[in-house]
Symmetry: C2
Subunit: 411 residues, 2 copies
Amino acid sequence: MEGESALQLRIFDLNCWGIRYLSKRRQERVELIGDTLRREGFDLVLLQEVWSEQDYNNLKGKLGSRYPFCHYFRSGVIGSGLCVFSRFPILDTLLYQYSLNGYPYMLQHGDWFCGKSVGLPRAGTGMVGDITVSLFPLSHQLHAEYCREKDAYLPHRLVQAWELAQFIRHTSKAADVVLLGGDLNMHPEDVGIRLLCGWTGLQDAFAEATHFEGCEDGCTLIPKNCFTDKAELLPFPLGIRIDYILYKAISGFTVMCKELKTTTGTAPGTDIPFSDHEAVMATLHIKRQGQAASDTLGTAEPMMADVVTEAQTEVGVGLRAAQRQRYSTGRMAVLALLLLLVQATAALGTLVGLGTEQPFPKLSFSLLAFAAIGILLLATCLHLFHTTEVKMLQGTEEQMRMALRALQERP
Amino acid sequence: MEGESALQLRIFDLNCWGIRYLSKRRQERVELIGDTLRREGFDLVLLQEVWSEQDYNNLKGKLGSRYPFCHYFRSGVIGSGLCVFSRFPILDTLLYQYSLNGYPYMLQHGDWFCGKSVGLPRAGTGMVGDITVSLFPLSHQLHAEYCREKDAYLPHRLVQAWELAQFIRHTSKAADVVLLGGDLNMHPEDVGIRLLCGWTGLQDAFAEATHFEGCEDGCTLIPKNCFTDKAELLPFPLGIRIDYILYKAISGFTVMCKELKTTTGTAPGTDIPFSDHEAVMATLHIKRQGQAASDTLGTAEPMMADVVTEAQTEVGVGLRAAQRQRYSTGRMAVLALLLLLVQATAALGTLVGLGTEQPFPKLSFSLLAFAAIGILLLATCLHLFHTTEVKMLQGTEEQMRMALRALQERP
């Protein structure tokens, strides 16, 4: 086996921070990313936050000769921002949209409008011995963390991490190697990462790499990068690691990470960065193995049960918050409806002729009615939204309960 | 091989028509369904349109001894309405929500609020020889067809059929046998059914059954049923077949449908039906096979290319309609904004003192402003909605194009 040649796979992963009109020096950076990718010649390029389809088309035009195969995943109002460039044919794609992704009224955070998803382009790659290796290079991004101390989105991110893990478990059987690259918006010790890796058996390229070169601790959001928010990184002088390349061999194969690199605040040979995130570049060696690997979890079972329990507790906290919000928006809708009914009764009374004079000034009366209608509509929409949220959190909690039962029942 | 014993699997599928306050004699029918299922003892029960969680809980209580394993899929505002009862353990579940599902403003059709989805409960079943058979009993429902002549939802239903087919292709490798039961809201000759069966290789139990007993042509929505809309069925004197049990063996197994039955307007031994749909009951024989089946399409490739092209054309029609709606809602939002600006300028002019008298009556002025704000908000929401719709239809069209290319390139 040792003598057999391995397939070497070079992967580039980057959160491109390509928000139209908002991201600084966007076009210049997209040009730079395109030039670098064309020069370097990776095998697979996984990009996130390419929100502008024009940017994608520019990259596509520039990279066509090096990476003849590419795919842009469309979803949500703005788009998923996910795209993949590949040296190997992309045979098929599937997009899975997370069921929860923040709140539409949190306009300043905008996650809801992006339709965050995991994209699954199935790519057939080169030959290892006489076997074609299929890859599932999932490129994705979970809900952002805006405040670590009081993280209102933690339950949503955990639902996403769980759905991502379940999606990988259910789709990975068709692949020989699973690859996951993206901005997970979670620190390595966070429960979401432990859940994802533990439940799927995915391995962290940073932890497994034989050789590492880049930012200390593999950080991908660092104070040295001129585009990062320095205040946000104050508690983390070295920066934080939230972009990952994860991998797993399914059966008959082994994968090893020979080298992992990150950029260190600027793009190589220039004075501006690719993005506010650092790029992550991995070199993987894929080899054929004699026996098929069994379908194991990534974490020992008793520990995995603890992780699932921890995640379930957090989802439960989110569920209770969502139930409170569903209740208060429902109450507000009922109050607005009552106000409207009182007004309608008063207006009807006046019309019928119980009083010949107008008891209220017409203007304030109509303004009040309009305000009540507005509140009624808004509260009803929010109530429906939170009802969906409650259902999804309940569903996830139940799935986690089922997983815990399965873990406990294993021989 | 012939001598080896086969696993016999009895499946019950029914669209329960369980809409709270709207469906006639709902509680009585749910009782009846529960009693029948407890008496009959199927192996797998796939139910749709169980919108009330209370109904599910009643069924769960009643069926616990016969079907110790069950799952209710939560999604959308109202729920997915999908549930599964099983004699075999349900090991794991995954819910895939279709990216398009009608319009939120079509309140009378309500599909949007249901979060239509495909539920994937992975069940391990009994033994065939020394092998455990895994089943993927997908229970699901596609967008309803309200008017066959001018079917505005056809593109959405085709997107759903395509997503369902892709979901099955990507998740089925982990199973030995795939089962799909549900109300597909499509006639057997419709492009959506041909696409689904052709692209996944699923077989129609009605077409394959050795023995059939039930409504003529296997219809599941018949004029004889007292709850069906007779006017809707006027062009189809025998009724229509829109509820299916589809199956496929993945590898090392064969599946045969020995018997298929439908109810015929009333539940057996009573004078009321289970639902406005007829129940479909199949008896499948699963056998171990020597060699692994290869991953083939269900339809010959040149024919499959025609089916995909036909579907793509329909999706294209939907795309152009969505683009028109996106444009007209965007234009309406801009007009409302302009009106508001004109009003603001006029109000400002009065305030600054260009005229000491009030040029407009205060009441109509404010009413107009409120109407403009209302239209602006509504048009913006609709514009965002249709933008998402356009993105999804474009995404599906591209996936279909990719599939066509793959079909043409096959040796």
